[in-house]
Amino acid sequence: MTSVHTAKENLAEVEPDARKIFAESALSRDPNRLNVFLFMLDERGEVVHECHGVPGGRRSGPDRSDWSAEIAKSLEKLILPKALPPLANQSPLRSLPDLADGTASGLPAGVRIFVRQGDPSSSPRGHLPIVEVVPMKPDDWKPLAWSPETRTIEAANLRDWLVWLYPAAIRTADESKRFQKFEGSLVLEPTGRDDTSRHALLRGEIHLSKGSESQSEFEGKFEAVLTYRLNSPHLQSVRAVVEGVYLYRQRGTNPQKLRAVIESRPGEPR
């Protein structure tokens, strides 16, 4: 399975093989088309089936498809063997975004962020996490180095993490302009140690904006537990929680509750 995305009408940034498949398809010329399309290819990369990709559901129409029915049609056309060879990676979450190795210094390779929308008890969307990974260089971790004294860290130091705090299904114009300003002072406070590590908390309010009050913003609370080795100022792990509201500005303001967790990777096995 793979996906291709572009916001440019000329498809210039799309890899050539994918561009050719779409350009030569009847879907690309369908006046009823929306913006999602499915293609099933055989093992030689030849298209055997294509359909509109926005699921039909109750709003069925010529611009939408029943995925189950279309996949079933594809499977008939593919003439697959009775049993496919087993996948090399048998993990149940074999494609979960991740960072494989830490740095030579022992610092984490980066962080993985899970963003969740809405209230999961009332919103089906809240069950579907967004997953982003952020690789980090050793110098990137320096602002979070151990300090025996309480000190303040500006939220801007975490901009590469915080920039992902926005929901899915926002308009392209909103997504294409990411947060520009990262405001808030976070307090890094040592809290103790045990036999293997030292601990600290990092907490504070954050405000993320795009430079204009007419554009979307995020307001929320950041809280993290940090661990350090006993004899090194280098950070060992971080587990953070962010809770807040994305003020989605599109002809008015639509507040959307967001929750996120941030974990350093690699980490403990799930």
Partner: protein, 109 residues
């Protein structure tokens, strides 16, 4: 024993849920006690605000069912998918999205 084709269909349907509210379930067992894992971070058991943060972390952290779409065998590009398809004699499911800076794989779409 699980039927691979059936599991595949279920997971693909779940991917479709990113665009609509059609539900699908792929039941995978809840991981073992996560709070025990949090305790494994070495924090004192009582009277520590860090414990409250870690408990909140665990409550927000998605479970395997929420992440079922990542049980599919994703390739980062069509080029990679084609190379693997040829080698492993597998078909390719290509999702093509226009008018979007998003990314179906990460969920920011």
């Amino acid at each position: 024993m699980k039927n691979p084709a059936r599991s595949y269909l279920r997971a693909v349907r779940r991917l479709g849920f990113l665009f609509a509210t059609a539900a699908v379930s792929l039941i995978i067992a809840w991981p073992p006690d996560r709070l025990a894992a949090a305790a494994g971070q070495g924090l004192p058991a009582t009277d520590d605000p860090g414990r409250e943060i870690l408990e909140k972390f665990q409550s927000i952290f998605p479970d395997d069912e929420d992440l079922a779409v990542y049980g599919l065998d994703w390739a980062p590009t069509l080029k990679v998918a084609k190379a693997r398809a040829a080698m492993e004699h597998r078909p390719i499911f290509l999702i093509f999205v226009t008018n979007s800076f998003g990314n179906i794989y990460t969920g920011h779409c």
